[in-house]
């Protein structure tokens, strides 16, 4: 029982990393990135290729992957996604959905449909004894990264000038513009940061299990569920939502291997029914 809860929490940590980028992008510019999961998978494959090409350890590879992801996200928002923002959700949905299909099929063309993973070295087999249970070091590290990422995002929003500009354009785009902010640039910065989180999530996913080109949509749904359960605009909420989702899925998997994801979805729909604003809402849709 305790073991199941623990495994669920650790799984939830990974889901939190999937979801933080989504939460950030929606919070700042009300953009629903339907390619979120596919970008995570793309990040995983990018790390795999980089490690294979250079022989770096995954940790060192992240020092290259993270800045590259920031630049990629920045340019994507600046030159593609900014043009789709507006009251009508259709343009941004179609463009990100189109990107999702392009990424899936390009990955399929380049890497084939076989699942691949990233060799985590000695970390993959190491474990930590916690008295009542033994947990793998890598899941524990992932969980720690998720908590640190949540904490950092919350601090970024609360205490820095950049975070203030994020909140300003989120609350009132025109007023922020009058105060001298350029929303196009602020949005690009937010997406850049979101893509660092996406690359981090993809790399950890590739280290923990495997990635294959068709995995993206499922990760998108997990990310989305975590954000909605937690309440929009709250990073702590996203963390709690992800942990709840992880635990629910773990309970489902224990009952029947075909039930894990299904039970997670049902829990999400239940929360949607009884508390549509999520557990800790901050932003209004």
């Amino acid at each position: 029982m305790a073991d199941m809860l623990l495994q669920g929490l650790l799984l939830g940590g990974l889901y939190c990393l999937f979801a933080l980028g989504q939460s950030l992008m929606f919070g700042v510019m009300r953009l629903t990135n339907t390619a979120q999961g596919d970008f995570i998978i793309l990040g995983g494959f990018f790390s795999i290729s980089l490690v294979a090409a250079t022989g770096l350890s995954p940790g060192l590879a992240l020092l290259i992957v993270a800045p590259a992801a920031f630049v990629f996200g920045y340019l994507l928002q600046r030159f593609v996604l900014n043009g789709t923002l507006g009251r009508d959700p259709l343009p941004s949905l179609v463009v990100t959905f189109g990107l999702a299909i392009i990424i899936q099929n390009l990955l399929l063309e380049v890497y084939s449909a076989d699942p691949r993973s990233l060799d985590a070295g000695p970390l993959a087999l190491a474990s930590v004894a916690l008295g009542f249970a033994t947990v793998g070091s890598l899941p524990l590290l992932t969980f720690a990264v998720a908590v640190v990422a949540t904490l950092s995002l919350q601090a970024l929003f609360s205490f820095t000038a950049l975070g203030r500009s994020f909140r300003a354009v989120s609350d009132d785009r025109e007023a922020a513009q009058l105060m001298g902010l350029r929303p196009a640039i602020v949005y690009a910065q937010a997406t850049g940061i979101a893509f660092v989180l996406i690359a981090l999530a993809g790399t950890l996913q590739a280290m923990r299990t495997t990635v294959s080109p068709s995995d993206g949509p499922l990760l998108l749904l997990f990310a989305f569920e975590a954000v909605i359960i937690g309440g929009m605009g709250s990073f702590w909420g996203t963390l709690v939502g992800a942990l709840l989702l992880g635990i629910t899925q773990q309970v489902g998997f224990r009952i029947d291997p075909g039930w894990g994801i299904w039970l997670g979805h049902l829990m999400f729909l239940f929360v949607l029914l009884v508390r549509p604003q999520g557990l800790f809402p901050k932003t209004r849709g």
Binding site: T84, G98, W262
Partner: protein, 340 residues
């Protein structure tokens, strides 16, 4: 009362124009096209019929997606929930209950609209982009639920055995005629609905919800009605598709590709107009026929086209033609013509 309030305006001074030369010729043109198309089983090949049935399913599904997103303003990535549900229901009615599958098609469509009623209360908790992904989650719940139902084959699916005794030629031409009836019926229903008073209310909601509500339109009720109708139409497309296909599985029936292709067709053809899905479905059929052998590169191409059209031609191919030449096959707009 009317004359007292508007003393300077009488019927000679203005007129509301709702048609054009094409729309006045529409009944005759439709009759000709339908007669030619209906006779296809007597002179065409059976592979043509199968192709028409398949594209009809895509078209009906896209038309319903257009009604939902283009007119109702509800962009969904989860309409495959109702497509698959319609398909499964037809199959269950045929195999287990013993109803003729052809008769089961409209029953399945109607029941799908009914099941969409409780679903709408969940889906309507979300708006905009989150509505889109929320409906996708709901579709996944449908898929996983049917995958856990072992009496309809679980994850690997099952076959429609109820049509076993029927001669192949009879089965194919009956399916074809039903498909044709669905296409004509769906176009006619949407066209007449949009020209009706309720259709006007829907157009008002699309243009501005708050303004529509202030004119006394019950926005939520109208949106829910559109959601149910679109679900029923998607169920109709699904039931028809699997009557023709004879084999169903959760992954095929509830695949997100159904919504992806519908979005592609509607966006390329022109969202929020009846001509949009027609042009989009024809283009999709053409691309599919000549380029689908390229596999994943073909899909990469479709994704690129969808992005480019969204960024540069937001009202699609027919929207561009309409702006350039003023073409309109199914005019639903009202123009005021002042005579003085």
């Amino acid at each position: 009362m009317k004359t007292a309030l508007t003393p300077y305006v009488n019927d000679d001074a203005y007129a509301v124009i709702r048609g054009n030369a094409f729309s006045r010729a529409l009944p005759v043109l439709t009759l000709v096209v339908v007669i030619v198309a209906a006779s296809l089983p007597y002179w065409g090949e059976s592979s043509w019929m199968r192709e028409v049935v398949e594209i009809s399913c895509y078209f009906v599904f896209a038309m319903m997606w257009n009604l939902l997103a283009g007119y109702g303003g509800m962009v969904s990535i989860g309409q495959q929930a109702f497509f698959g549900f319609g398909g499964y229901l037809m199959l269950i009615l045929g195999n287990e209950v013993g109803i003729n599958p052809f008769v089961a098609i409209p029953i399945a469509a109607f029941a799908t609209a009914l099941i969409a009623w409780p679903v709408s209360f969940l889906a309507f908790r979300l708006q905009g982009g989150y509505f889109a992904i929320g409906t996708w989650v709901i579709a996944e719940v449908f898929r996983l639920s049917f995958a856990n139902l072992h009496w309809v084959g679980g994850g690997s699916g099952t076959s429609l055995t109820a049509l076993r005794g029927i001669d192949r030629a009879v089965r194919e031409s009956t399916t074809y005629w039903i498909a044709l009836a669905c296409v004509v019926g769906v176009i006619a229903a949407v066209y007449l609905f949009l020209r009706s008073k309720r259709g006007l209310a829907l157009l008002a909601i699309r243009d501005n919800e708050v303004a529509a509500a202030s004119q006394g339109i019950d926005v939520r009720r109208m949106k829910r009605a559109v959601y149910l109708i679109a679900a029923g139409g998607a169920g109709l497309a699904g039931a028809l598709y699997f009557v023709s296909n004879l084999r169903i599985s959760p992954d095929a029936a509830f695949s997100v590709n159904w919504s992806a292709f519908a979005i592609f067709m509607v966006v390329i053809g022109g969202i929020g107009r009846i001509e949009g899905p027609i042009v989009g479905a024809l283009l999709f059929w053409f691309l599919n026929k000549f380029f689908s052998d390229y596999g994943s590169w073909y899909l990469v191409g479709l994704g690129c086209i969808a992005i480019l059209v969204t960024v540069f031609f937001r009202d699609g191919l027919w929207g561009a033609l309409h702006r350039r030449f003023g073409w309109s096959l199914f005019p639903t707009h009202r123009f005021l013509k002042v005579r003085s």
